[in-house]
């Protein structure tokens, strides 16, 4: 008889290696979604045990206790207690511990035991503990705790064999031992008592060497040095942006020629007409011009994931805490803001780690000013068309430098906006606490990073395939209809709806140096910033024929003045050009009002920045 799906839940403190265990168990068989009603990320994966039992495992948000002081932690508590709406009560809870650091997990486990859920304690990273001379009496620990204990090395092949075998063994006799929950929120005295109990058990079962991890101490001596640490942080960020620009280029060229070839093929195969124009100008060049940026997005995420796995992110928060505090930001805001460099949506969602409401709101309001990866296509296009690729001071690429400058502008204005918010809007207010574990450094694992990048790349491609595709169809339609009357000599697009809309908006945008083609491109760019590139391509392609579509950059270089190009860059630093971000802001703040505030303040900044940039550039002779 087929046994029902076995439901596992992974619970553990932050940095316990929960996610690498999750990746080791499930590989790429993962599903990322949201919990109903809230936007906490829900990660579920599937695998089959050695005895053939089908298992679903949910990776719950990391927590130090079941008190539930943030939305993430509430999910973990409710899920384990079986109170999360629409969720199955887990058959078995895997409490994951970093073997080198058992204190906090053992305390959490003692609290978890009160929920009555069947449980296994997984001593993860057991190899690292052994290397550091930590020995654990596993049998005694299991006896003292009253739960089965198993060791695992998530990052090694076969390192979870014992866990899988134990899961089979326990799941066979599960039904008999379901217990009721006697859990309730612990008082301070009980909390202290459980920590004492945990410390006693550890003293009995674990022998710790006196020496801490020397590598972590050595690295921290440099990386957390008050001055040196900040220099290292700046170097890492600078290197990251140079890499995004330089390393991605060959791959992007390859993708681009691939799509060009496909376009040529369609052009040659299909008869002249609407279908040919739709496929070549609308679909292939449109979606293609966005997918070309996949390599850059992968590189950004590669850096973010590497730094996170290595254990550097918490250090960055430590270094930035007071500096960001000067601008009214919490040190914990650093990670959401850094994620916003990839995309503001996960960035805004990860502001949940900030438990103070007002700190969180400030972070949400400024997150869209961080240069997200969707701006990269626009920046890249304009920079490579207008900024010469020469070296300054012998070793710095000028294009990379401009890119860095755009990022720096975004960051500076985010800090300035935050300062203004703190000063004018949210005055009566003491700083929220900053308390964070600084985990020991770990060598990042290729497999974990690869799975992380794979899920994100997939999300980007799905987006390109849905939102961006439908916007491209829309822009192609607007740019192609109505068709020009027979015998017209002007380019077809001059007769289209797009031209009418663009020309209607032109007077508004003329003071910042935008022509009507840009106005047309900005409209679908509201759905997703990067679409503007494709839209410009489509507009100029239908205007100028297929030669134009192949070389958007070169066309722009002939059609725009340098002042217009710079103005466009300034616009893109600030403009609220992303409907999904606005939607997430509404959802996360629970208010249309804050969404409107974000939209208008960004729009005003964008217009002002473009206006100044354009007029200064014209005055300097770049008009």
């Amino acid at each position: 008889m087929e046994l029902p799906l076995l439901h596992l839940a992974l619970v553990g403190t932050p940095n316990s290696g929960k996610t690498s265990l999750f990746n080791a168990l499930t590989g790429s068989r993962q599903k990322v979604a949201n919990y109903p009603g809230v936007t906490v990320e829900r990660k579920e994966g599937f695998f089959v045990t050695p005895l053939g039992r089908q298992v679903s495992v949910v990776d719950l948000p990391g927590t130090y206790s079941l008190r539930g002081r943030s939305p993430d932690e509430e999910i973990t508590r409710d899920f384990v207690l079986g109170k999360a709406s629409g969720e199955t009560v887990p058959d078995l809870v895997l409490c994951v511990a970093d073997s080198t650091n058992l204190r906090l997990t053992i305390r959490l486990l003692l609290e978890l035991k009160r929920t009555g859920r069947p449980m296994i304690l997984v001593l993860n990273m057991f190899d690292i503990a052994a290397r550091r001379g930590i020995t654990v009496d596993v049998e005694r620990l299991a006896k003292e705790l009253g739960v089965p204990v198993v060791t695992s090395i998530a990052v090694r092949k076969g390192g979870t064999a014992d866990l899988l075998a134990l899961t089979d063994e326990i799941s066979a006799k599960l039904a008999a031992e379901q217990q009721d929950s006697s859990w309730r929120a612990l008082s301070v005295a009980e909390l202290r008592a459980t920590q004492r109990e945990a410390d006693r058990i550890i003293a009995d079962c674990v022998s710790l060497p006196a020496r801490p991890d020397t590598w972590t101490a050595r690295i921290d001596a440099i990386v957390l040095h008050p001055v040196g640490g900040l220099i290292v942080l700046a170097l890492i960020l600078f290197f990251m942006f140079q890499a995004v620009f330089a390393w991605a280029q060959p791959l992007m060229d390859l993708l681009k020629s691939g799509f060009d070839g496909l376009g040529e093929f369609v052009h040659a195969t299909l008869p002249e007409g609407l279908l040919q124009s739709f496929l070549q100008d609308g679909v292939i060049s449109g979606v293609g011009s966005v997918i070309v940026f996949l390599p850059q997005i992968i590189i950004i995420f590669l850096f973010i994931l590497l730094l996170e796995d290595f254990g550097y992110m918490a250090r960055a928060a430590f270094l930035m805490d007071r500096i960001m505090g000067g601008a009214g930001l919490h040190g914990r805001a650093f990670i959401p803001l850094l994620s916003s460099f990839a995309c503001a949506i996960p960035g805004i969602m990860s502001t949940r780690v900030i438990d103070n409401k007002r700190d969180r709101l400030t972070t949400i309001l400024i997150a869209p000013l961080m240069t997200c990866s969707a701006r990269i296509p626009v920046y890249t296009l304009i920079i490579s068309a207008f900024i010469p690729a020469k070296d300054v001071w012998g070793f710095i690429n000028l294009q990379g430098l401009v890119m860095f400058g755009l990022y720096a502008t975004g960051i500076t204005s985010a800090l300035a906006v935050s300062f203004v918010i703190k000063f004018f809007m949210i005055r009566d207010y003491g700083p929220a606490p900053f308390m964070l574990e600084l985990p020991d450094y770990k060598v990042p694992r290729l497999k974990s990073i690869a799975i992380g990048i794979y899920t994100r790349a997939k999300m980007f491609l799905v987006r390109a395939g849905t939102t961006i595709f439908s916007m491209m169809v829309l822009i192609w339609f607007l740019a192609s209809f109505p068709q020009p009357p027979a015998g017209a000599t002007e380019p077809a697009i001059d007769f289209s709806l797009a031209a009418m809309i663009g020309k209607a908006l032109e007077p508004l945008l003329a003071p910042v140096g935008f022509n009507w083609q840009i106005a047309v491109a900005l409209i679908p760019g509201m759905a997703a910033r990067e679409v503007a590139v494709a839209a410009l391509g489509t507009v100029y392609a239908i205007e100028g024929g297929k030669e134009a579509a192949e070389q958007i950059g070169q066309v722009l270089a002939t059609k725009w003045s340098l002042a217009t190009a710079l103005s466009m860059l300034a616009w893109y630093v600030f403009a609220p050009q992303c409907a999904s971000t606005l939607a997430v802001i509404r959802r996360e703040t629970g208010s249309w009002g804050w969404m409107a505030v974000t939209f208008f303040y960004m729009l005003v900044l964008a217009y002002a920045a473009s206006f100044v940039t354009y007029n200064v550039a014209v005055a300097l002779g770049a008009g």
């Binding site: 204190r103 305390r107 301070v188 202290r192 410390d199 801490p212 008050p226 007071r322 600084l438 985990p439």
Partner: protein
């Protein structure tokens, strides 16, 4: 408690400089100026391992106002602002 601990003056961890080592004597969350309630602050400190008898060492300090501090608590490292560390009485 050892003689050594008795002789040393009790002080809040929030005033300790880099290189300081000591043992946690008790938690006193009154009047720290933290934005958290006394109970919440005490709970969080305990959850991060700041309990009586734990060994602490101040490993690193931030640039601005020597804040925040990175504290070794037994065998883990916790970053905390001085304001909250005032609640941890060490000797």
């Amino acid at each position: 408690m050892t003689d050594h601990d008795d002789k040393r003056a009790h002080m809040p961890l929030g005033l300790a400089l880099r290189g300081y080592t000591g043992v946690i004597q008790h938690l006193s969350t009154k009047d720290t100026g933290s934005a958290l309630s006394d109970i919440e602050l005490e709970s969080r400190l305990i959850e991060l391992g700041f309990v009586e008898g734990a060994r602490v060492e101040v490993l690193h300090e931030g640039l601005v106002g020597r804040d925040p501090i990175a504290v070794r608590v037994d065998n883990i490292t916790i970053a905390v602002r001085r304001r909250e560390a005032m609640a941890v009485i060490v000797a």
